[in-house]
């Protein structure tokens, strides 16, 4: 009889497995990042390359693009496991599904969110943001992208196995992303107007904590429900 393994060993095992999976398909990982850069570049092209516009809109543009790039990558969070039957095995393991889901979300953030954060200074430069703003942008992304992965996982879990998957996830998850967007981009803009930002960063941190606790629960519940979708 298999003993329910300790939560940390299960967490590490899934972490290792998913990092390995991501690494083996690393060419796929670049796609959301390329999209990120292209999406940001669309705004100077479609609206105006004037410094006056870009400096003011820059933080928001980068944030919106980060949001959309994350959305693109969410469909793959559970899909491959669903298709080859691994998800079934994960749901049937005696270990808490919460820990398994959290590990998968962490890997998702490491391969999607973290590169976005690392790319953001370059994009900030292209948007004529000051160095203070670039740092702040990176900080808000650091606090916000985990929330995007966490909340996005709920959407991915609710739709795993459905034919319509991708677009439906966006529909479900985008309204939930709006507060993070408002505070993420808003904080950078508020700093430009001279307001103190410590409070807003703390709020973003609070979003993160809330999502960290609740989102894996909701995602695990949603995964169990989605097992009917074969």
């Amino acid at each position: 009889m298999s003993m329910p393994q300790s939560i940390s060993s299960v967490f590490m095992a899934i972490l290792r497995r998913d990092m390995l999976l991501a690494f083996r398909r690393r060419q796929d990982l670049a796609n959301p990042l390329v999209f990120f850069v292209i999406a940001v570049s669309l705004f100077p092209l479609g609206v105006s390359p004037e410094k006056s516009f870009l400096a003011e809109a820059g933080a928001g543009i980068v944030w919106v693009a980060a949001l959309l790039a994350t959305l693109l990558s969410l469909d793959g969070l559970f899909r491959s496991d669903f298709e080859d039957g691994s998800l079934e095995q994960l749901v049937l393991s005696p270990s808490p599904l919460y820990a398994i889901v959290l590990a998968k979300i962490l890997v998702h953030w490491l391969v999607t969110g973290l590169p976005l954060i690392l790319l953001s200074p370059i994009l900030g430069l292209m948007m004529y943001l000051s160095s203070d703003q670039i740092v702040l942008l990176g900080l808000t992304l650091l606090l916000g992208t985990p929330v995007l992965s966490l909340v996005g996982a709920i959407g991915a879990a609710l739709t795993v196995g459905l034919r319509v998957g991708g677009v439906l996830i966006s529909l479900l998850v985008l309204p939930l992303y709006i507060p993070v967007l408002i505070f993420g981009a808003g904080t950078v803009n508020a700093a430009a107007s001279g307001l103190s930002v410590a409070g807003y960063l703390a709020l973003l941190g609070a979003f993160f904590m809330l999502a960290l606790v609740l989102a894996p629960l909701a995602a695990a519940a949603a995964l169990r429900i989605s097992m009917t979708n074969s």
Binding site: S2, A13, R17, L21, D84, S86, Q89, R224
Partner: protein, 219 residues
């Protein structure tokens, strides 16, 4: 000793009744084969037993207790290999087994290699499963059978893509499992040759849901 007891299981899907008031028991030392034509609900039944589906009525008991109360003990005592075996194509057999083992049955790499050797995958331990044949991929999943101590095995179409010597080996393994007091519930299109403890449960063709149902008495 009865391990799993099913009482009055009824399942309806897409306006078709797959089975109604199905009751049976699985005790240690038994091998149960669920048989029936395609679409009769065999896979659905196995999924319900594993707790993967929610759209059914009836009662499930594990070692005499209601399943809802002892779910984690049940999961710790269950080895389930479904229609899709849960083998990741990008990983090698060894990596696949390692991941599975960390969640269910911790084992050293040596034990994992030994299990792979038992299913005749020695020499393929490091090859990405995507490059293996369908039969070889399925054997990666079957390697779990050689590692698992779980009392109950639920196997859906375990013999798919397995060649003749593999079939004999698997039958011997199942017979051995039953002898040692374990239990197996399985579906297969293959004609099983198991001396002794094989019991068959036949599901009929899924019927159109009947015209008239009484509303249950709720009070």
């Amino acid at each position: 000793m009865a391990l799993l007891r099913v009482e009055r299981l009824t399942c309806e899907r897409d306006d078709r009744i797959l089975f109604q008031d199905l009751s049976f028991e699985v005790g240690s030392g038994e091998v149960i084969q669920i048989e029936g034509p395609n679409g009769a609900g065999k896979t659905t039944l196995l999924k319900i037993l594993g707790g993967l589906l929610q759209n059914w009525e009836g009662e499930l008991y594990w070692k005499g207790q209601p399943m809802s109360e002892v779910r984690s003990e049940f999961l710790a005592s269950l080895l389930y290999i479904g229609h899709k075996p849960g083998v990741k194509a990008v990983l090698s057999p060894l990596e696949n087994l390692r991941a599975w083992s960390a969640l269910h049955e911790p084992a050293t790499d040596d034990k994992l290699m030994a299990a792979l050797a038992r299913v005749r995958l020695a020499g393929y331990e490091y090859v990405p499963c995507g490059s293996l044949s369908a039969g070889q991929q399925r054997r990666v999943a079957l390697a779990r059978l050689y590692l698992s101590q779980a009392p109950l095995w639920v196997l859906d179409e375990a013999f798919t893509a397995i060649d003749r010597s593999g079939v004999e080996q698997l039958e011997a393994l199942l017979a051995n499992k039953a002898q040692r007091g374990g239990a197996v519930i399985m579906t297969t299109h293959h004609a099983l040759n198991l001396p002794g403890a094989l019991r068959k449960i036949r599901l009929g063709k899924a019927q159109e849901a009947p015209e008239v149902l009484e509303e249950e008495d709720l009070l």
